[in-house]
Amino acid sequence: EAGVVQSPRYKIIEKKQPVAFWCNPISGHNTLYWYLQNLGQGPELLIRYENEEAVDDSQLPKDRFSAERLKGVDSTLKIQPAELGDSAVYLCASSFGGSIDTQYFGPGTRLTVL
């Protein structure tokens, strides 16, 4: 079974530029999560999707961050414009919701903003 796929793995941009991250969850997983992991910290939830609906986006900085999950499968997280403080690893995870289950994480996208 293929795991959670994320691309790109690494991204270097200059501040004020836009950037987008892509996530393909495990087949059949209806719940998708985006986490932000700063250096030396644990992952922090940005947004959670149940199918195509964003059911928890309270931690997403909506002035510059946006996300979508078209057709309830793949998801894209966008930052526009990026700031220096956005340098971090962006993790995508998926799970089969509706019961207690574990989340399966992708390898993450490491963003460096110069």
């Binding site: 030396g40 644990g42 993790l91």
Partner: protein, 113 residues
């Protein structure tokens, strides 16, 4: 406000000995707890979990203990192996909130031969 705390940033243990990783939480609503293991340049990988209705869960060399009154859980690895060297994250969840995970900062475990 960190609701899940791992106060030891690092731990070094000899191969064959027991590794004990600790985690404390502040939110009494948490009712499901997990440990994740992370290697460099990879995402966290699920290791073991425990529901608040239990006080112990065992899976091979890994055992998680939960002390609800103390809001404390620990992960025991016996015997420790060099391949266990990784960062271990404790996470907690409220099961009726969509299982969004609250993570600690992690403990870096080094198992030396």
């Amino acid at each position: 406000d960190q609701q899940v705390k791992q106060n030891s940033p690092s731990l070094s243990v000899q191969e064959g000995r027991i590794s004990i990783l600790n985690c404390d939480y502040t939110n009494s609503m948490f009712d499901y707890f997990l440990w994740y293991k992370k290697y460099p340049a990879e995402g966290p990988t699920f290791l073991i979990s425990i529901s608040s209705i239990k006080d112990k869960n065992e899976d091979g060399r890994f055992t998680v203990f939960l002390n609800k009154s103390a809001k404390h859980l620990s992960l025991h690895i016996v015997p420790s192996q060099p391949g266990d060297s990784a960062v271990y994250f404790c996470a907690a969840s409220v099961t009726n909130s969509g299982y969004a995970l609250n993570f600690g900062k992690g403990t870096s475990l080094l198992v030396t031969p």
